[in-house]
Amino acid sequence: MALITYRDALTQALREELTRDESVFLMGEEVAQYNGAYKVSKGLLDEFGPMRIVDTPITELGFAGIGVGSAMVGLRPIIEFMTWNFALLALDQVVNAAAKMLYMSGGQFSMPMVFRGPNGSALQLSAQHSQAWESWLAHIPGLKVITPATPADAKGLLKSAIRDDNPVVFLEGEMLYNTKGEVPEGEHVVPIGKADLKREGGDCTIVAHGKMVLVALQVADALAKENIAVDIVDLRTIRPMDVEAIATSVQKTNRAVVLEEGWEMCGVGAQVVDFIQRECFDDLDAPVVRVHQADTPMPYAKNLEKAAKPDAAKAIAAIKKVMYLG
């Protein structure tokens, strides 16, 4: 296994799938000559040429729609949004076109396409550039929504997303591109819709996804020093959600904390808690607690930003609460 960055893992997945299938192409702002705003497509223009690695004008709605149209007649577009914050302009294409085309055409037109790009907050980018979109997108039937946390999952899930015949929303962690991890060499495909137990422990379950999985791992390390062992269920895919993995863990630990980057209201955590209270009610020794962003737009000032974001300290406090400690 090679130790590579999340960014390089994504690039590998793109290169391998572009090589594997000539109907796959990558389109978006700055993906070609500039090598990608976050360098995920570095070198691909030279390798695959301008019909397959395509720079667009700044026109998210337009090029998302080009992707949808081309998928209707059999191509397999990968539409890159420079960030998901800009993708808001294209949501009509994602939600009203891509997600619904198969259904409203009575099964005639599938949408074998991927919408991908960085998601979630970075550092001091303030309100308009610091948002986690997964709860919005996971609300929509007809989409699959993926949030990989590690380089290995990033590579394996992106390959699955590109091969899937459905529209897949692929949310990369903006702060994860430089993180490193072991990635199996050669063909490495991770199935969509399967959670992964990133840490095993019997005292409490942490359900997390994307960047928050790394926070959960910090939490686990810190709590280990206090002889508290946590299960970390990395959802990996938000839709379809692997609820069996959640149930298996909660039935073992009897306690759960849900950790996410997004806001509280109608968030991913709300869906997870709904499932736990229905299916694991008798297993619970304490109410489930959620950790999430403060219910405000993201502030710019460093201290306010820190106060707004979910972090390890907040998660540890939540775990101690559900364990009735201190």
């Binding site: 192409f25 667009t56 709605l61 729609g65 080009i66 055409s105």
Partner: protein, 348 residues
């Protein structure tokens, strides 16, 4: 035998007269076919209105009456492997493109034998077999799809074209400009057709659009823009023929403004006149009925007797009655269809 031997010299020396005669016959046949297409659309929409009034069709239902020359003229110059994508005023275009009236009426009735299995309804007619890529319900949202189909054609080095229909109100939508920009920038074989019926729902173009000469939007994208009297099916055919040729041979897009008028309300929910337009204006516009205009030409040419016209019309009415009967006999979709076609099952 004798006829062949007498015609032989002519075959060796083809004359203009021969070609002209053949051409005249062809032209008459073409006129009859265009008239048939428009009549079928008209009769179909009349039955759709009737079915809506009886509660057999629900939801929104936008009729095409008055605009039939645009679809008839356009489809007459397309190849079977070309593509069409359109807005929610899609019944006439679907039928003109060759979708079966049965499958369209059954879709309107919400039945399992509808073209979209009863899941799409009036605004979402689709038929992969004839390259009909939908009926789309968000004004302007489907215009980038046409550029995308054009992109796919170019990607595969094909020589098909994609025709995209939308109303004049859509030229103020961002998606229109984003799509036209990329279609021109990348030379995509897409033809953007503004069906200018002068009203976006109940808002007159003069109240919505700073520059009412909407074809001039093409200039912003170095694209050819042309206005056509779209009550004249041959004017439509001529302009569309040139646009198709430009797209097919040079991969270049065109913007065509088809000047028309809708004889009915925006949808079945509003009156044809009285609120946002006057009865006088409606009546004046209805004097330029595309079916009457073509029929008058054919009458003047003595190429279609009144009896023949009546027969042609009766045939179209019978097709629509058959579509109605078919739709009525078709079952509602089984309840388990609620959950099918949300996702493709297989992950390869």
């Amino acid at each position: 035998m004798r006829r062949e031997s007498t015609r032989k010299p002519k075959q060796e020396m083809p004359t203009k007269t021969d070609n002209a005669e053949k051409s005249a016959a062809d032209q008459a046949a073409l006129r009859k076919e265009l008239l048939r297409s428009m009549l079928l659309q008209r009769r179909f929409e009349e039955r759709a209105a009737e079915a809506y009034a009886l509660g057999k069709i629900g939801g929104f239902c936008h009729l095409y009456i008055g605009q039939e020359a645009i679809s008839a003229g356009t489809m007459s110059v397309l190849r079977p492997d070309d593509y069409v994508v359109t807005s929610y005023r899609d019944h006439g275009q679907a039928i003109a493109r060759g979708m079966s009236p049965r499958s369209v009426m059954a879709e309107l009735f919400g039945r399992v034998d509808g073209c979209s299995g009863g899941k799409g309804g009036s605004m979402h007619l689709f038929d992969k077999k004839v390259g009909f890529l939908g009926g789309h319900g968000i004004v302007g949202g489907h215009i980038p799809l046409a550029a995308g189909v054009g992109w796919a054609i170019k990607y595969r080095k094909g020589d098909q074209v994609c025709v995209c229909f939308f109303g004049e109100a859509a030229v103020n939508i961002g998606a229109f400009h984003e799509a036209l920009n990329m279609a021109a920038l990348w030379n995509l074989p897409a033809i953007f057709v503004i069906e200018n019926n002068r009203y976006g729902m109940g808002t007159a173009i003069s109240r919505s659009t700073a520059n009412e000469d909407v074809k001039t939007r093409a200039a912003a994208y170095r694209m050819i823009g042309e206005s056509i009297d779209a009550q004249d099916v041959f004017a439509v055919r001529d302009a569309m023929g040139r646009a198709v040729e430009l797209a097919r041979k040079e991969g270049k897009p065109t913007l065509l403004e088809m000047r028309t008028y809708r004889f009915m309300g925006h949808s079945m929910s509003d009156a044809a006149s009285g609120t946002y337009r006057s009865r006088e204006e409606l009546e004046e516009s209805m004097k330029r009925d595309p079916i009457v205009i073509l029929h008058d030409i054919m009458r003047a040419n003595n190429e279609l007797s009144d009896g023949e016209f009546a027969k042609l019309d009766e045939e179209q009415k019978a097709i629509c009655q058959d579509a109605w009967d078919f739709a009525e006999a078709s079952p509602e979709p089984p309840l388990d269809h609620l959950y099918t076609d949300v996702l493709v099952d297989t992950t390869s």
